[in-house]
C-alpha cells in the first residue's frame, strides 16, 4: 500500500494542487463569475514565493504565505475594475490579465528568468502538507457555504437585483470572494512551485486557467466536491491512459468530451451529490438572460 502510494506520489501531489486551483475557480463560480484569472494568480503566487525562497532565505511557510498574500493583493487590485464586467466580459477581462502576466513573466528576464524560468527551487512541499492544506481549505469552504455568508453568496449568484434589494452589496461580496479565490490560487501556485523545482512563464497562461475551469465545471457545479472530483479525473486520466502512448491524447480528449455530453451536470450527478444545486438556471450568468 505504502509502496503503491509512493510510486504515484507525483500524481497524487498533482491531484491535490489541481484540486486547490479547482476550488479557486469554484469560489468564483459560486458568485456567478467565470474567472480566467487563475493562470495569472497562480503565477503570482509561484513567482513571489519562489523569489522569496531563492533570494531572501525566508522559511518555507513564510514564502508560501507571501506568495498567497501577493496573489490576494493582485486579485484585489484587479477585481476592483474587472468585477464591474458581467458574464463573458468578465471572463475575457480576466483572460487579458492572465496573458499580460504571462508576457511580463516572459520578458522580465532579470527577475523572472524570462523564457527559461526559474529553476533549482528547493523542493519543500510534501504530500502530507498538500493534503492538510486541501483538507483545511475544503473545511473552510464548507463552513463558509454553510453559514450566513454562504447564503449571501448564493443570493449573489442567483440574481443581482433581488440580492441587492435584500441589502446585499453584491459588488463587495464578489470582490471579497475574488480576493479569497486569488489567495487560494496563489497558495496553490506557491506550493506547486516548491514541488517541481522549476517554474516558467508558460506554466501560467490561458491553458492553466482553462484547465482549472475544467476541474471546477467537469465534476459538477455547485459543490466543492465537484472541483475535487473534476481535478482528480482530469489529472489521473492521462496517467491511466499511459498504456497507449500513441492515442493517449486522443483518448483523453474523447473521454472528456463523452463525459461532458452524457453527464452535462457534471460527473458527480451520477451519485446525485451535485444535482440539486446545479439544476436549472443555477450558475448561469445573469447576462445570458438579461441580454436576450
Amino acid at each position: 500500500m505504502i509502496e503503491w502510494l509512493q510510486s504515484y506520489e507525483n500524481v497524487i501531489a498533482l491531484v491535490f494542487v489541481n484540486s486547490i486551483l479547482g476550488i479557486g475557480v469554484y469560489l468564483m463560480l459560486s458568485v456567478n463569475r467565470f474567472s480566467l484569472a487563475t493562470g495569472g494568480l497562480v503565477g503570482m503566487g509561484a513567482y513571489v514565493s519562489t523569489l522569496a525562497t531563492l533570494h531572501t532565505g525566508l522559511p518555507f511557510a513564510a514564502a508560501v504565505a507571501l506568495g498567497t498574500l501577493a496573489a490576494a493583493l493582485v486579485a484585489l487590485l484587479l477585481g476592483t475594475p474587472v468585477l464591474r464586467l458581467e458574464g463573458d466580459y468578465f471572463a475575457l477581462g480576466t483572460l487579458a490579465f492572465t496573458e499580460v502576466f504571462r508576457v511580463i513573466a516572459f520578458n522580465w528576464d532579470s527577475v523572472t528568468g524570462g523564457a527559461l524560468g526559474l529553476d533549482a527551487i528547493p523542493v519543500r512541499t510534501t504530500l502530507p502538507q498538500l493534503a492538510g492544506v486541501l483538507a483545511a481549505l475544503v473545511i473552510a469552504v464548507l463552513a463558509l457555504r454553510g453559514g450566513r455568508l454562504g447564503r449571501i453568496m448564493e443570493a449573489t449568484r442567483l440574481d443581482d437585483m433581488p440580492a441587492q434589494s435584500l441589502g446585499i452589496d453584491v459588488a463587495r461580496v464578489r470582490l471579497a470572494v475574488f480576493v479569497f479565490s486569488g489567495a487560494v490560487c496563489g497558495l496553490g501556485g506557491a506550493l506547486a512551485a516548491h514541488m517541481n523545482s522549476f517554474i516558467g512563464p508558460n506554466d501560467f497562461g490561458l491553458q492553466r486557467s482553462l484547465d482549472a475551469v475544467a476541474y471546477a465545471v467537469l465534476g459538477g457545479l455547485g459543490h466543492v466536491a465537484g472541483a475535487i472530483a473534476g481535478a482528480t479525473v482530469f489529472t489521473v486520466l492521462p496517467e491511466v491512459l499511459r498504456f497507449s502512448a500513441q492515442a493517449r491524447e486522443i483518448l483523453m480528449a474523447l473521454i472528456l468530451l463523452l463525459a461532458i455530453v452524457f453527464l452535462p451536470r457534471g460527473m458527480l450527478s451520477v451519485g446525485g451529490l451535485a444535482a440539486p444545486r446545479g439544476r436549472g438556471r443555477a450558475a448561469r450568468p445573469a447576462t445570458a438572460e438579461a441580454s436576450r
Binding site: D88, E99, V100, V213, A253, P264, G266, G280
Partner: protein, 295 residues
C-alpha cells in the same frame, strides 16, 4: 515613412486574416450566444486540409482553399450535431458548453498531431504567389494581395448573405431572439447548423490564408490564433460582426507596428494591455452599442 508604408501593408495582410477568423468567431457568439474555444483548432484543421490537398493531390490553391473551407465548416457542423446541440437540449449550462469546446479543441489537436506529426509544414510555392511589386522602397507581394482580396470577397459574401437574403434575415432574427425566430417559422435547428458551418468555413479560410502568408502550418497554430480572435472580438464588441472585422484589422496593424517600433517581445503585452483597457473603459467594445445589436 517607407518603413511605415511597408509595415502598413504587412499589417493589413495579417489583419485581414485575423478579421476573417474573428468574424466567424463573433458570428457564432452573436447569433447563438456561444463562445466556441475550439474555433482556433478548427482553423488549424482547415489549414491542414488545404495543405494536404495542395501537397498530396496537387490541387491548385483556389480549389483547395474552398475545399478546406468546406471541411472546416463540416467539422464545426459536426460539433453542433454531436456535442453542442445535445448539450443544449439536455439543459447543460453555458459553462459546460465552454468546457466542451475546450475538450473538442484538444481532440482535434490530438488527432491532427497523430496523423501529421508535430512538425511545422509548409505550402508549396505557387507561380503566382511569389511575385513582388516594387513601389519605391515598398515591396508588395502578390501573396499579400491575394490574401487581402480573398478576405474582402469573403466579407462581402457574408455581408450579402446576412443583409440581403432570406436566410440572412432568418439568422438575424435568431440573433435577435431565438424564441421569436421559432414563432415566425424560422427552422431554428437547421439554421443553427448553417451558422456553425459558416463560422467553421470562415475559420478554415483564415487557416489557409495564415498558412500561405506565414508559410507555416502546425497542430498548435490554433492556440495563438484563438487569443487573437478573442482580442479582435473584444475590440469590436462581442457579437458585432463589422466590429470584429475592424477589430481584426486593428489588431494586425497594432502587432506589426509594435514589432517595428517597439521591442518585438512586448507585442502581446501591448495588445492585451490595450484590450484590458478597452474592456474596463468600454465593455461593449470600441464599436458596440449600448443595446448590443447582434449580427
Amino acid at each position: 515613412m517607407n518603413v511605415f508604408l511597408q509595415q502598413t501593408i504587412n499589417g493589413v495582410a495579417l489583419g485581414a486574416t485575423y478579421a476573417v477568423f474573428a468574424v466567424g468567431f463573433t458570428l457564432l457568439f452573436g447569433v447563438l450566444n456561444v463562445l466556441n474555444l475550439a474555433q482556433g483548432s478548427i482553423l488549424m484543421v482547415g489549414a491542414f486540409a488545404g495543405l494536404e490537398l495542395t501537397l498530396a493531390l496537387h490541387w491548385p490553391l483556389l480549389p483547395s482553399f474552398l475545399a478546406a473551407m468546406a471541411i472546416a465548416g463540416g467539422i464545426a457542423l459536426l460539433s453542433e450535431l454531436l456535442v453542442f446541440g445535445p448539450l443544449a437540449r439536455r439543459g447543460a449550462n453555458r459553462w459546460m458548453g465552454l468546457v466542451a469546446s475546450l475538450a473538442l479543441s484538444r481532440l482535434l489537436i490530438a488527432i491532427v498531431q497523430e496523423v501529421f506529426g508535430t512538425q511545422v509544414r509548409r505550402f508549396p510555392p505557387a507561380p503566382w504567389t511569389g511575385h513582388v511589386w516594387q513601389f519605391g522602397a515598398v515591396r508588395v507581394q502578390s501573396l499579400q494581395v491575394v490574401v487581402i482580396v480573398a478576405a474582402v470577397v469573403l466579407m462581402a459574401v457574408l455581408a450579402y448573405v446576412l443583409r440581403r437574403t432570406r436566410v440572412g434575415l432568418a439568422i438575424r432574427t435568431m440573433a435577435f431572439r431565438p424564441s421569436v425566430a421559432q414563432l415566425v417559422g424560422v427552422p431554428v435547428a437547421r439554421l443553427r447548423l448553417l451558422t456553425y458551418f459558416l463560422t467553421g468555413a470562415l475559420a478554415g479560410a483564415a487557416g489557409v490564408q495564415l498558412g500561405v502568408l506565414y508559410d507555416a502550418v502546425s497542430p498548435f497554430m490554433g492556440e495563438n490564433i484563438l487569443l487573437k480572435g478573442l482580442s479582435a472580438l473584444i475590440l469590436g464588441g462581442l457579437g458585432h460582426v463589422p466590429g470584429a472585422a475592424i477589430g481584426g484589422l486593428v489588431l494586425g496593424l497594432t502587432e506589426v507596428y509594435s514589432v517595428a517600433y517597439l521591442q518585438s517581445s512586448l507585442r502581446d503585452a501591448v495588445a492585451f494591455g490595450a484590450i484590458f483597457l478597452v474592456l474596463v473603459c468600454r465593455p461593449s467594445g470600441l464599436f458596440g452599442t449600448a443595446t448590443r445589436q447582434r449580427a
